[in-house]
Structures are given as structure tokens and as C-alpha cells.
Symmetry: C2
Subunit: 350 residues, 2 copies
């Protein structure tokens, strides 16, 4: 689990230079999407989408020490996650990711083998989701590692789902379960302290594999998008849950000029998440509402779809959309009503 650089052969990046490194990393890359006309190797990649298809563009910048900690994040998993979180944004528009560009800034402590690991994870994610790497940039950094990925996707114009389409009485749904990635992070942070010898506790991941997987190697919910399409359900609003359920509900309600009522007892939480929250003496609902990095889908559907959606595995109806003046309400297990506040991961505030 813990990434140990010292066991490995180390080739300095300076032996390849920038162009050599790019050639090395992109060697044997296949272009699979019919929309990819030219990939790496010119001033720009060239894409061509069929008439009537709209093009989706999303981007993420991940900084070492802010978004990831290499003391417990294997570089291959980091690469995989960096790609997948971008795919997730395209699925959240009800689209299909097709191409990415990958820019990496790295300090001298990284070797060619490290870059192979990182890029290997990105390439694995691309193979898994059918996405082409079509360009990027590789540059030195004075300090840590920075990864910037831009993803291009496509969708039929009428299929695209925005955040602003939720209507009164629509059902609020989430896929999968929430809070596990956050508990995985807590677990890894505890482990880090253990490794530093600052506490006399043995590392113990047994029975907690799911939490680690959710934190270190999340997947994008392509399957949910496909299921909804097959069932003939088109969400009225949708986004992916990266900052936490509360924060994302606020985005959808604000942009849709609506309110919502969600029920604590309906929020899907995995057993391991619950056990871990108890072990850490944390409020489970707070973790599920504000934990972030779940990369599940939050979406609303017309109430007419209730029967169909209620029967779909992996989707939970957690509440409904109201008039805006009713605000965002959480109904607790004992029937009390609280106003939802976003306490999501917002590192630019204090």
C-alpha cells in the first residue's frame, strides 16, 4: 500500500529531456475514439465530432500536498484517479468522455520510473473508459507534483443535463453510497501518523479495503448513466459529488432556483463507512453530507419516474425538490428539520 521509492531502479528524467520523456510516456498510445483525428505530436490535437453532437470540456488541476499525499498514494492510483475525476464530470453532463490532455509538472525527486507509474494509471483509466490521450505538456517544477487534465466529451444536444433544470416535486436521487472516500482519507491520515512513529498504534486496514479503494481509486459512474438511458429516464438536473452532497445540493438548488427536502435516513451509507465513523467518533451523517470525493451522481428526475427509479439498483431517492422559499432542509431520523449548509471541502477558505 505504501509507496516506497527506494526499492526501485531510478532513471533520472534529465537523461531523456522533455521531448524524450514525452516520446517515452506516449509510446504505443492507441487512438480509439473515431472522433480523434490526430493525437500527441503537433501544436494541437485534432478532433472531429459528427454534426449535431455537442462538445463537452472540463478541467482539473491537482496539486501535491493539497489534493494528494504521496506518502500513502501510489502514483499509479493517483494517475487513475486524476483521469477518472474528469470523466466523472463529463458523465455528470450525461455525456461520454472521449479525449484528454495531460499536463504534468514534476520536481527532480521524480524519476522516469515514477512517471511510468503515474502515466500507467492514466493510461489504464483511459483504456477502461475508452478515452484517448491526445496531448499535454511536461515541465519541471521547483517543488511538488502538479497534474492538470482536461477532458473532452460529447453528447447529443438534447441529452445534455445541466445543473439548472430541477423542478418542484422532482425526486432527488444519488447513486452508490456516500462518505466512504472521506473515511478512507481519515484512515490513511491515521496510518501516516503511525508510520511516522508518532503514535503507538499498529496499521490496520483489514476489513476497510472498500474505504481505501473509494479514496485511492474511485470510478466514474458510467454504469448509472447507461442504466438511466436504458430505462428511458432523463434527469432534469445532474452533477457529480466531488465536494460533498450538501455543497452539490446547494449548487443544483441555487442554479435551478429551487429548494429541497432530503431525508437523513435515505442517505446511502456503506457498512464499513458506518463502522469507521464510530471508530473515529465522528458523526456519520456529517461525513456523508460533507465528506466529498465520492464521485457519485446527484440528480433529479420527474416524479412520474418514481416507480422506475425506485426499482433501479444502485440508485436511492433521498428527497424531493421544493419551491425556493422553503430553502434546503434535512429531515433527521427523529423528524426534526435542519437547514442544510455546505461544509464541503473548500480549501481556499480558512
Amino acid at each position: 500500500m505504501i509507496y516506497n521509492m527506494t526499492d526501485k531502479i531510478r532513471t533520472e528524467i534529465s537523461t531523456l529531456g522533455e521531448f524524450g520523456l514525452i516520446d517515452h510516456l506516449t509510446e504505443g498510445i492507441e487512438l480509439r475514439a473515431p472522433s480523434t483525428k490526430r493525437g500527441v505530436g503537433d501544436d494541437a490535437a485534432v478532433l472531429e465530432y459528427p454534426a449535431g453532437r455537442q462538445v463537452l470540456v472540463t478541467t482539473d488541476l491537482l496539486m501535491e500536498g493539497i489534493h494528494f499525499d504521496l506518502t500513502y498514494t501510489p502514483l499509479k492510483h493517483l494517475g487513475y484517479k486524476a483521469a477518472v475525476v474528469n470523466f466523472s464530470d463529463i458523465y455528470a453532463m450525461n455525456g461520454t468522455p472521449r479525449q484528454i490532455t495531460v499536463s504534468i509538472a514534476l520536481s527532480k525527486r521524480f524519476s522516469v520510473e515514477d512517471m511510468d507509474e503515474l502515466y500507467g494509471g492514466i493510461r489504464l483509466a483511459c483504456r477502461t473508459y475508452g478515452v484517448d490521450i491526445v496531448g499535454g505538456d511536461t515541465t519541471p517544477s521547483l517543488t511538488g507534483l502538479a497534474i492538470s487534465i482536461t477532458c473532452v466529451g460529447e453528447a447529443e444536444k438534447d441529452d445534455i443535463v445541466y445543473r439548472d433544470g430541477a423542478k418542484e416535486n422532482d425526486l432527488v436521487c444519488v447513486s452508490g453510497d456516500l462518505g466512504a472516500a472521506y473515511m478512507g482519507l481519515q484512515l490513511l491520515e491515521r496510518e501516516k501518523v503511525v508510520l511516522k512513529g508518532e503514535k503507538d498504534v499498529q496499521p490496520d486496514f483489514a476489513g476497510k479495503e472498500y474505504l481505501l479503494e473509494r479514496q485511492l481509486r474511485p470510478e466514474a459512474r458510467r454504469d448509472i448513466i447507461e442504466k438511466l438511458a436504458t430505462a428511458g429516464i432523463r434527469p432534469t438536473a445532474m452533477m457529480d459529488i466531488s465536494d460533498g452532497l450538501s455543497s452539490e445540493l446547494m449548487h443544483i438548488c441555487k442554479q435551478s432556483r429551487a429548494g429541497c427536502r432530503v431525508y437523513e435516513k435515505e442517505i446511502p451509507i456503506d457498512y464499513q463507512t458506518a463502522v469507521m465513523a464510530e471508530e473515529f467518533n465522528m458523526n456519520l451523517t456529517t461525513c456523508a453530507l460533507n465528506g466529498g470525493e465520492d464521485y457519485e451522481l446527484l440528480f433529479t428526475v420527474p416524479i412520474a419516474d418514481h416507480e422506475t427509479i425506485a426499482e433501479m439498483e444502485g440508485i436511492r431517492v433521498i428527497g424531493y425538490i421544493t419551491k425556493p422559499e422553503l430553502g434546503l432542509a434535512l429531515i433527521t431520523r427523529d423528524g426534526q428539520e435542519f437547514e442544510l449548509k455546505a461544509q464541503g471541502w473548500n480549501p481556499l477558505s480558512e
Copy 2:
């Protein structure tokens, strides 16, 4: 010229938070390109290009201390340049830039006012070139500033010019003049030493404004692309000169499986560049060949276009394309022949 943070009002970014900062920076952004359907504010931007148009994608990651030095780079100029270098890549494909995404990682030493400067430069570049800001990411950094910009552009399929189309006997052309941005950098680096009090020399930029402008606030050669189109000339190969003429000639010759002969006396150099090289006791041709950051266009045209191209202002024929086995040759003023080697800016080699 020198950017002084201490004279300014300082608002901490933490007072706004991530979403507040994004709202603040993107406030009042207008979407001008007909191909932009939705900009900032959802999981992804939505674009739609007319049938038959191909989509160009290019990206750049700029790191503080590697690509820019804030002791002499005004943030507004940095923003302008960060955007323009991406536009330059799209023009180098014979396309038109239409949208960008802007990701910024910033440490606590930056204020809201600093971000206004940086973003102001990006927005000015976008207005000047008719490009929309459609998305991005804003995140903290433990150390310096990182800027990642991805640019999307468009072109008719048959208009796109790649690096691999140069043919034997084609003329090798460059726009503008070379080496000035590099001399501007030398000048600023000297000024930095002066400011540190390490040398007893007075800062002196008089008569050197052009060099500073070329380094700090380059433009992309949209005008050259338009001129060529008006004259009915379609280059056979093209790229922009960012790493230096030698390095770019090698890319074109390698990808086109060709060689070239270029003439030292034909390489366009500005008077100020020449004066400065003498002052610094540097070889002028070496500066022009390997300086980099010129953002001029290097392209090849069929020899049949010779008469037309020779008359076009701002374009110089510097040589011609040969069989690959003849290699890349520089013919000096005194008629000697040297093999061209790329010594361009390659910070990942030692």
C-alpha cells in the same frame, strides 16, 4: 515595470473561498463565440461546432520559477502571455482559437487583487483575440503559482496544417524576427541582479522596450495566418516557434522526413536584439536560433508561391527543404555549412 505588491490593497482569498473567488473572477464574462453554448458554472462547458469543422485542442502548464519570475513579471502581463501562447498553438495549425479553460493554483501569498491582475490579463487577451473563457479550476498551492490553460479552436478539415507536410524544395519561412524575447529575458535577469544590489549597475531599459515587450507580452501571429489565407497560400507544414528556431526546424524535418538548408544571413533579427547581443557579448545567430519564446510562425510553402511570399511584409524566406539524407544545414554568412543542433530551451535536461 517591477511589480510591487506592497503598494496595494490586499484582500485575502480566504475571505471569498473557492466558489466566491471563481464567481468574482468570472463576473461579467461575456460569451462571444457562436460555438460556445455554455461557459463557466456546470460540470463541463458545452460547445457546438458547425458540421465539417474540426476541433483543435492544445494545453500549456506554466510553473512559477520555471516559466516565469514574478520579481519582474507583472501578473497582468503573465496572464496575457499565458493565454496568447495557447492561441499561438492554434494559429500554428492554421486554425482559430475560440475557447479556453483556465486553472490556477495559488499559495497564500497571493491576494484577490493579485488574481484580479492575472485574470485581467487573461481576459484582455481573450477580448483581443475573440476567445471565450468557458471553465477552469481554482485551487490552493503549497508553494508557487501554477497556471494551466487549455485552448479549443476550430478549422476546416482541409485547412489544417500539420508539422509533417513539408516536401523537398518547399521554401522555409518565418514571420517577424527572432531572438528578441530571449534578449528581453537576459535584460530582465540582469535587472533582477541589479535590484538585489549584487552589482553596481543602474537599471537601463531605454531603447530596449521592444525586447521587454517580446518577453513579457508576446502576441500570437493571427495577422500572418490571415495574410496567408488572403494571398491564397496554404503552408505545407507549420508550427510556432516557442523552443527556438533550431528545435522547431528539427520537429518539422523529422516529422516530414526531410532535411533543410537555412541561411544565417536570412534569419530575421531586430536591431535592438543585435545591439543587446553585442552588449552581452553573445553570439547573435545562436540567440536567434535557440532563444525561444518568439511565438513567431515557422512554415514551409511550395516553391511555386515564391513570388507571392517574397513580397509579403513580415515574412522572410530563410531556406528550403531538402532530401532527408542531407540533414539540417545552416549556411553561414561566409558560406560555411554547419549541422543544425537543437539547443533550445529544454528544462528537463541538465
